[in-house]
């Protein structure tokens, strides 16, 4: 995690040094790299025997638990989002 923080800090510093210039291609570069990352993560999951074999046996239970956890966090995050939107709407 320290490595990630340092890389992020280096990125912020580099961006700040070059702040006088605008880089229009950054959003495109971001999404292309995201595609590449997802492809690589897919390969890693597909190559992982524990993941592929485990999924055949325990996949339903795992899916159920992850969907339930996801739904629960979406519900509360949505509530907080609505609450903040209403508060900020009222101020303006």
């Amino acid at each position: 995690m320290l490595q990630i923080i340092l890389i992020m800090a280096a990125g912020i510093a580099a961006g700040w040094i070059l702040r006088k210039r605008t880089f229009k291609f950054l959003n495109t570069l971001l999404i292309v790299l995201v595609w590449a990352l997802l492809f690589f993560l897919g390969v890693e999951a597909g190559e992982n025997k524990a993941v592929i074999d485990g999924f055949k046996e325990l996949g339903i239970e795992a899916l159920l638990l992850s969907i339930a956890g996801t739904a629960g966090s979406i519900a509360l995050a949505w509530a907080l989002w609505k609450f903040i939107q209403r508060k900020e709407g009222g101020k303006r």
Binding site: G11, I12, L30, L33, F39, G42, E44, G72
Partner: protein
């Protein structure tokens, strides 16, 4: 919608390549995804530093966004607690231990394997990988349906590293700081929560 489909397409293509072992000498490959992630993190940092107004935008963000990690933890545990009724052979603490991994699959699966055995450990591994995948693949749709906080919350412990780039893309640069803060807090709470529910 098209954005999400393209993302799903790349991920599925990767799985097929992986399952069929199309890449020779796979060992070097895990570095490739890590280097890509590092490049992405650097890029997200660069976009923050390059935006002269961004620090002002961060300062004007509502303080209430700091409650998001709490929403994530409570929401996840509530969802997993309900699941217990559908899985009669799993105890409440089993379900809560798996759920409290919140996407941090490497750590949670190891901790759970040690105290509850390999089967529940494997479930934790899969469930938390699936959660990360749901975030990566569904972020744009979640923003559309449930607002910008939903995909960050679903991202759980991963929102300051693996899922940060896609969240930056889906929620916009202004929410990078919410995402990092959220990931940081949830990441630190995972080992405590998993250990706690394993010992119940």
């Amino acid at each position: 919608m098209r954005g999400s489909l393209v993302i799903v397409g790349f991920f599925v293509a990767g799985i097929i390549v992986g399952v069929l072992h199309l890449i020779p000498q796979f060992e070097w490959f895990s570095n490739v995804s890590y280097i890509t992630l590092c490049a992405l993190i650097f890029l997200v940092g660069f976009m923050i530093g390059n935006d002269v107004e961004i620090f002002q935008k961060f300062r004007s963000l509502n303080r209430l966004y700091m409650l998001l990690p709490l929403m994530t933890i409570v929401g996840t545990l509530a969802g997993c607690a309900i699941t217990t009724t559908l899985l009669p052979h799993r105890s409440l603490s089993d379900c809560l231990a798996v759920g409290s991994g919140m996407g941090y699959y490497s750590l949670s699966s190891v901790l759970i394997t040690q105290s509850r055995g390999a089967e529940l450990g494997t479930i934790a591994l899969l469930a938390n990988i699936v959660r990360e995948v749901i975030t990566l693949l569904g972020a744009p749709i979640m923003v559309r349906w449930f607002g910008k906080l939903a995909p960050i919350s679903v991202g759980g412990a991963t929102t300051m590293d693996t899922t940060l780039p896609i969240l930056t893309n889906a929620c916009g640069k202004d929410f990078v700081i919410v995402s990092i803060f959220h990931g940081f807090i949830v990441d630190f709470s995972v080992p405590f929560l998993v250990t706690f529910f394993c010992e119940l």
